[in-house]
């Protein structure tokens, strides 16, 4: 069980780096949605001994929300804005990839120093969470395109979700659904905002938002 879970978290960490290195928006969204689906499968792997319908519902909702609904909304916003290429970012692709890799290594090293519960010690959950949060920050800070920043925010949220899996026994179901609903609505709203930015500025470059206009 631990090996499968670690493999999944390792794949999610690899998808982080893929998201940092991709210069095209569709591949960035693809990486993010794949990561969401992997994350949705994880509760099932962790609790495969006593599965019940509520757990199945969480997994299904997460996979549908993070893997299908949110990416579809983002793709629609991207098509409406008529872009598929990232504008040259503040932090270039190679430096952000190196930052992400350094962050991943640092997360693995850091989590060994943390006082974890014995049943979590052999898992990659904590390093995966920290690495995803760092990746999200790098994307949020380093990208100039509004949709890439949204992807950064979603990967950040994926990191927090990974961390939340440590508390899978003690978090009520309502909280999980609430977070998922919030994120989906957030992305829905952002899709509308992206459309407004595109109409007002003819570009999704957030640098232009700092200039005042009549």
């Amino acid at each position: 069980m631990n090996e499968t879970l670690n493999l999944f978290i390792g794949l999610a960490m690899g998808l982080n780096l893929l998201a940092l290195g991709s210069s095209r928006l569709p591949s960035l969204i693809q990486a993010m949605s794949l990561q969401g689906m992997l994350l949705g499968l994880m509760p099932l792997i962790m609790e495969h001994e006593h599965l019940d319908w509520r757990l199945g519902l969480i997994a299904l909702a997460t996979i549908a929300g993070k893997g299908v609904v949110i990416p579809t909304l983002l793709r629609r916003a991207m098509r409406a804005a008529n872009i598929d290429r990232e504008i040259e970012p503040f932090i270039g692709f190679v430096p952000s990839l190196l930052l992400g890799a350094a962050g991943t290594i640092a997360a693995v090293a850091l989590s060994q120093a943390l006082p974890l519960l014995p049943e979590h010690a052999g898992l990659l959950l904590v390093p995966g969470a920290i690495a995803s949060v760092l990746t999200g920050f790098v994307l949020l800070i380093g990208r100039a395109e509004a949709i890439s920043q949204v992807c950064g925010y979603l990967i950040l949220e994926n990191g927090i979700y990974l961390f939340g899996l440590l508390l899978i026994h003690s978090t009520p179901l309502v909280v999980e659904f609430g977070i998922l609903l919030d994120v989906t609505v957030g992305v829905f709203v952002i899709g509308i905002i992206v459309d407004r930015i595109q109409r007002a500025f003819d570009s999704l470059d957030t640098r232009k938002l700092t200039a005042l206009r009549e």
């Binding site: 780096l17 290195g21 210069s23 692709f93 190679v94 990839l97 190196l98 890799a101 991943t104 290594i105 693995v108």
Partner: protein
Amino acid sequence: MMLILDLILRLALWLLLAPLLPGLINRVKAWVAGRRGPPVLQLYYDLARLWRKGVVMSTLASPGFVAGPAVAWVALTGAALLMPLGPAGAAFSFRGDVLMLIYLLALARFCTAWAAMETGSAFEGMGAAREVSYAVLAEAAIITAVLSLSVQTGSVSLVTMLAPSAGAGAVLLAAGLFTVLLAENCRVPFDDPNTHLELTMIHEVMVLDHSGPPFAVILHGASMKLLLFAVLLVQAVLPMGDLSPLAATGALAGGVLAVTVGVGLIESLMARLAFRRVPLLLTTAFLLCLFALLVAWKGNRV
């Protein structure tokens, strides 16, 4: 006596089999595109034709123009003799021969670049500059890959390093080494071996002014380098030492064939990468090898 016979057989195997690989790649490309394509043995014909031709020498060029390709070819042959071949082992094996291998490859690259600049053409200087600037990144990746193998097996000799499989990080290592193979041998997506557009070539540009036997030597050396990397990749990933000699030989041959077909498929399905995106892909290869190193290191300590 047996030693000499073994050496001759080994040399013959490397020298005669190497030109087969580019032919196979071209055949795969032709098959995917629905063409008939050149014969598999095309490079042999080309080499024979070039060998009979005369040499055109620039009046500016020093003897280095001919010496460069010769030294590069000898260095690559030496590297080939260091590389173990499945159950047969290597012709020469000593502690730290893996460093020798890396330096021989670097020497071959230096000599090709040197010979390219001998003509004094700015165009070839540009090609040489591109080749060596990519090589800096590719070399970082291959050194990391070798380090991860050496940490995994606790040895610095190629024969013992390549015998077991690369363990848990094998997938990462394979992806990293395959990318390095494509970069080092100037295949798509780093360079298009068929193009003759001045702004996009890398390797082709360096050898543009060579003709006759020196050019044949360069082409043969390039094909040998491709075989060398394919053999390295297959042996790093597959657990050669655990198989019976016959199975190991079959696995090696099949693996090299699979790598060749893979290169051909990538070449048919992918376009050349935009020039400024190449460092990104090479950095990715370096990171893949780095994570393989981490996996090997962590796996050994647990």
